[in-house]
């Protein structure tokens, strides 16, 4: 049952990445399109605009969520690939724990800056 949930979350995080990464791409890189639709997002990649977004809870939430789902999707996918060539339960357990530790380290590192900016 645990593996069923792991796979189900792989699907869910895949869908969430499409939405959250879509928001990120549109705001950061397709600002000209936003202007075309009447949304003033000019200079969206400037330092001032980015720090302004970082001070808003909704943006911090979006970026931390994108980091979390991206890490889960990528690390679980990598784990599945590595498990294809492991031959023992012990090795599989080691791979799983290594992936969990790597995920936690990346998540902690990735959330430090937006949380620090938000809390001042």
């Amino acid at each position: 049952m645990r593996r069923t949930y792991l796979w189900f979350f792989q699907l869910v995080t895949g869908a969430l990445i499409a939405v959250l990464l879509g928001i990120h791409i549109v705001v950061q890189h397709f600002d000209a399109i936003l202007v075309f639709f009447g949304v003033d997002a000019a200079q969206s990649t400037s330092w001032a605009a980015m720090t302004a977004r970082a001070s808003q809870g909704i943006w911090v939430f979006i970026y931390i969520a994108l980091l979390a789902v991206g890490l889960y999707h990528g690390i679980n996918g990598l784990r599945n690939i590595i498990l294809e060539v492991t031959r023992s339960t012990r090795a599989e357990r080691a791979v799983t724990w290594a992936m969990i530790v790597i995920g936690i380290i990346f998540f902690a590192g990735g959330t430090y800056v937006p949380v620090a900016l938000l809390t001042g």
Partner: protein, 276 residues
């Protein structure tokens, strides 16, 4: 066939005798071919006329038994179902099925596949054990319920799907498309109640979740089955059960056999001169 001029085709056959050879090697044979001749016919020609020690499996010669599955021109096929002409080549490379150990020459060891097949309990599992022990009636099944799994019951266990599967190539512990498709086959059977016993066997890191849906098994299957579809449907069953999205279905009820016997149809009588 007698009117066709014989075309010479070179059979490059992998040979391996574990008692004599340290590694597999190739041996070439020139075979006169004619229209309609299959790769199996060519191998039989070699065995009868050129090299009697060449070892391969074959039985029905009509793609029913699945015995003659082999790697022909780098693709898993049934030798009896592959005409030499359709390959459009003057040289054929014949090897045993990959992803399985070799016993000798073109004979793969199918035991790993059969072990996986056996592991998923490929038979009807019912809670009414008394009826299963001594059947006195029949399990009712609607035609649409039969269609849910019918195509998967045509599996001849030739091993071609396992040979084509890229996951089976990299993961020797992977259950393989044959066993997983058969797991779905029996779980989808409305007469069966064995999901609770089979799901823990396939819900593993080397089970159903390791299928990357390459679809190579479905493309290669000589019987036209779609094992990749069965595996995806099995994933759906597992997920919907884990998320409690499925309604508990009652297994097929017992129906008594017909009380009246069918009238016997008169056997036609033939006379010696009839039909000529």
């Amino acid at each position: 066939m007698s009117g066709d001029s014989a075309k010479q085709v070179t059979f490059k056959v992998q040979r391996y005798d574990p008692e004599k050879d340290s590694a597999p090697h190739f041996q070439e044979f020139t075979v006169p071919t004619s229209r309609g001749m299959t790769v199996l016919d060519g191998l039989l020609y070699i065995k009868e006329n050129l090299e009697s020690s060449l070892t391969f499996r074959s039985s029905c010669r009509m793609s029913i038994c699945g015995s003659c599955a082999m790697f022909i021109n780098n693709y898993p096929r049934l030798a009896c179902h592959t005409q030499i002409e359709e390959l459009q080549a003057d040289r054929l490379t014949i090897q045993p099925l990959p992803n399985l150990p070799i016993i000798k020459d073109l004979v793969p060891d199918l035991n790993p596949m059969f072990s996986n097949h056996k592991a998923i309990k490929p038979y009807l599992i019912r809670h009414d054990t008394a009826e299963m022990e001594s059947p006195g009636a029949e399990y009712a099944q609607l035609p649409e319920e039969l269609n849910d799994y019918l195509q998967f019951s045509y599996c001849v266990k030739c091993g071609i799907c396992v040979a084509a599967c890229p996951t089976s190539a990299s993961d020797t512990l992977f259950l393989g498309p044959q066993a997983l498709a058969q797991c779905y086959h029996y779980c989808a059977d409305s007469r069966d109640e064995g999901e609770a016993e089979r799901f823990p066997l396939v819900d593993t890191d080397h089970g159903v979740w390791h299928c990357h849906f390459a679809g190579a098994c479905s493309e290669a299957c000589p019987k036209g089955l779609d094992p990749a579809l069965a595996i995806q449907l099995l994933k759906r069953r597992l997920t919907s059960q884990a998320l409690r999205l499925r309604k508990k279905q009652q297994p097929s009820p017992l129906v008594l056999p017909p009380t009246e016997s069918k009238p016997e149809i008169a056997y036609p009588e033939f006379s010696a001169g009839e039909g000529t």
